[in-house]
Symmetry: C2
Subunit: 225 residues, 2 copies
DNA sequence: CCAAAAGTGTTCCGTCTACACCCATGG
DNA sequence: CCATGGGTGTAGACGGAACACTTTTGG
């Protein structure tokens, strides 16, 4: 049982955002150069300290909003990281959150303003402190969940082609998928709806656009791709 | 990027242990009555504050050791919980850890000394603060992982019968399993070794005892039950 | 001798996998 | 007219699910 508060010591708690995006058929991560000590100049995730009047999730959302200007973003806790000297300056315990955003929604100006950029997940540089470990854990989490939770749609625009969707899966799983088998399985999933709109961006022939139907999913929230 | 420390506030950080055991073919949880305010007398997980000179995992291990006298126990982080007023007294962020122990290794005296007891997982009372949520999350985690990680052996003695092992799976998954299919799958798993010893505790005929071979598992750490 | 738990195979069905060609169109 | 990406079906392998009876022995 927890003892009396007075006897115990407090520590700094921060949140770090592992921001995934999808572009040019690659899974990307939003990272930047640290602009303060310790670790100034090193590649790093974007984070911030938790304030007295906000919960962990609120802090993560605030930090993500500051960075991207986006609200109502899919976020999932990756875990708490608490090695004693993980932060070279002070004792800081951090809670990592993984966010999935649609790169097109993201304002390039903010990118520059915060000095962050999109980097391919498989070309990640060495990051500050234990940030690489956080990313690894987040990717593992995505891989484990992508077949049973509707994660992929967060990385795509509202309307998307099946080829785009397949590329998301391939990027996250890190392996190629057979087109026919993929589409066969998609057809069995009710909440992926074909629209009558056609995208001509990526092909001359044009491809049907699909949509993730939240309500249909809510009524039958179990699937297996 | 994290700012300068001075501007920010510190908070109390604690760890809570979700201690699972297996006995009488049921999954059990070790809980007790809080012996201090706030929440004195309510059912609760066992926890403690994180000290300045220990990491989160170390804190969790210390707390678990205090409670059980056991070291080198399987532990897994369940997640951080940080609602603003989750603790009615002070702002406390907690990190929950799930531990799997063999009930037989556990000293009944310590149980009484700390005022905790084993409760069936499906007869859990309402627990202090957000502890029920932590337990729910831990059970979900167990269910998701038990078929791909060697969790079950932590709940059993070193030597166990296949019937015991099956009961562990049934208790965690909350459903019955076909005996023949279960044993067929077990036979395909290299790191579950049959010994030539026979247990006569639970049946007149006697049942072969099996053992989890760590080294074999290490050489081929992927399986699917 | 009987109650109680251990142990053992086969068949069926559904699911996953591998695999190659035609279609539509813009340039 | 051709290069590019979109779209489609089938057969065979494999894995999971259902299912019932014999064995052993302590009391």
């Amino acid at each position: 049982m927890t003892g009396f508060y007075g006897e115990h010591s407090k520590v700094f708690v921060s949140v770090d955002c592992i921001v995934f995006g999808f572009d040019e058929n690659k899974l990307k991560l939003l990272i930047g150069r640290r602009q303060m000590d310790p670790g100034r100049g090193e590649w790093s995730l974007y984070g911030g300290f938790v304030k007295e009047d906000e919960s962990l999730v609120e802090a993560a959302n605030r930090v993500l909003f500051t960075l991207t200007g986006l609200n109502n973003i899919y976020m999932k806790q990756v875990g708490a990281f608490g090695a004693i000297d993980r932060d070279p300056g002070e004792r800081v315990i951090t809670v990592a959150y993984c966010a999935l955003i649609n790169v097109k929604d993201y304002d390039q100006h903010l990118c520059e303003e915060h000095g962050v950029e999109w980097v391919n997940i498989d070309e990640l540089p060495r990051l500050y402190s234990d940030h690489n470990e956080m990313v690894r854990k987040a990717v593992t989490l995505l891989r484990r969940r992508i077949n049973t939770e509707p994660l992929s749609f967060n990385l795509l625009p509202e309307l998307f082609t099946l080829t785009q969707l397949q590329h998301v899966y391939e990027a996250i799983l890190g392996e190629e998928i057979d087109k026919r088998n993929f589409r066969k399985r998609i057809k069995t999933i009710d909440f992926i709806e074909k629209t009558d709109q056609i995208d001509k961006m990526t092909s001359k022939r044009g491809a049907y656009l699909y949509r993730f139907n939240k309500d249909t999913f809510a009524s039958e929230p179990i699937f297996k791709l």
